[in-house]
Symmetry: C2
Subunit: 203 residues, 2 copies
DNA sequence: GTCTATACAGGGATAGAC
DNA sequence: GTCTATCCCTGTATAGAC
């Protein structure tokens, strides 16, 4: 099309969100200006406000979309039976999902302090739902005697921190392949909560 | 208001750094203004420039001081013999040191993006020295046959991510005490790298 | 639907009075 | 050593032309 003034609302909206995600992840929400986002998309700053009420909504929407997608994808996993299989599945899923979305993950974990109170509460609720899914696995495993965790909440947070840390260094095409990384992390996660293959001692 | 006529350079400098640390940790470097820092200290914005060349140096100094203090404290630990004892010591030290300095830790891990290239390189070098200390323990343990880690670099990063995650939720006076948290994390760390069953837990 | 132009607040940093 | 005053830039957001 020769004309630049046609309707692009269906393409411009997603492009704005993509640019915002990329820039927020790279420089941080507070350090990124609406002008930068607009420049990346190829529109003027004022035009952004046709697609978002303000900068804060742009951030909150990115985080909510990410967490809702995460929960949905997790819910869609095939059922696994037994705490060990479920933990293995969780670890591999978590690694794989996060490796594929480094920008969204980075934002979701780093920009919480830049959310206004209402948005913060909503995002925290989603995050907690995900954590609860892992904690349920650990509780079941402890009840079944296959996991030795003194505190399931603490173990949940420790495992998620460990697994999420992969996004700090993993690069596509790097020394280790995706499947290798998933396997190694899944093993470490299972060992961390007391692999049944060895006798566990808890004071 | 009566004018303050005395010299305060020896007290104002540290107070500026303390205020900056507190505000950077809470709101993020990019979101904090020099005027806010000055207000917290009780001076005018212009006065800050008697103590720091610019805002960037304030950030870089905080991060460098933190990491240098971390390395120094780690070097001062009493010698431990054997990879398992050394890993246990590392885990407890890491948790304890980080729990005591939530603001400094938060900044050191979250504000890397806001460092200018030269400062970033310097900070990264310090961080790598610390990671290398842990990796040496894991390598020795693998060579000795007490740790089962397919990749020591990956395991190093996974353990540090797990241990550092404690700062995301630990609060003084919370449900779990400091010693309990250290013990639980040290156990998880040791298990994660495949410590054999013979390890004794000293309560 | 997108543009230019702009309002208005606030940013970092400096100069010079006291 | 700290202040006031200020420079100049950049921030978010809006108004109105096309």
């Amino acid at each position: 099309m020769a004309r630049k003034t046609g309707s692009h609302s269906e393409i411009t909206g997603p492009r704005i969100r993509a640019a915002a995600q990329h820039l927020f992840a790279r420089h941080g929400y507070a350090a990124v200006s609406m002008r930068q986002i607009a420049a990346e998309v190829g529109v003027q700053a004022g035009a952004l406000y046709l697609y978002t009420p303000d900068k804060q909504s742009l951030l909150a929407d990115l985080m909510r979309d990410h967490l809702e997608g995460l929960l949905e994808a997790f819910a869609d996993l095939p059922p696994a039976s037994g705490p060990e299989a479920r933990l293995d599945q969780f670890a591999r899923f978590h690694i794989g999902y996060h490796i594929d979305r480094p920008d969204a993950v980075f934002i979701a974990y780093m920009e919480l302090r830049n959310l206004e109170p209402d948005n913060f509460s909503a995002i925290e609720a989603l995050r907690r739902r995900y954590e609860n899914a892992l904690e349920a696995i650990l509780r079941d495993g402890r009840a079944a005697g296959v996991f030795a965790v003194p505190d399931t909440k603490l173990a949940t947070l420790a495992l998620i921190a460990m697994l999420t840390g992969v996004t700090n260094w993993y690069r596509e095409g790097g020394r280790l392949g995706r499947a290798e990384v998933e396997a190694i992390y899944a093993d470490m996660a299972r060992n961390a909560v007391g692999s049944p293959a060895r006798v566990q001692h808890t004071a």
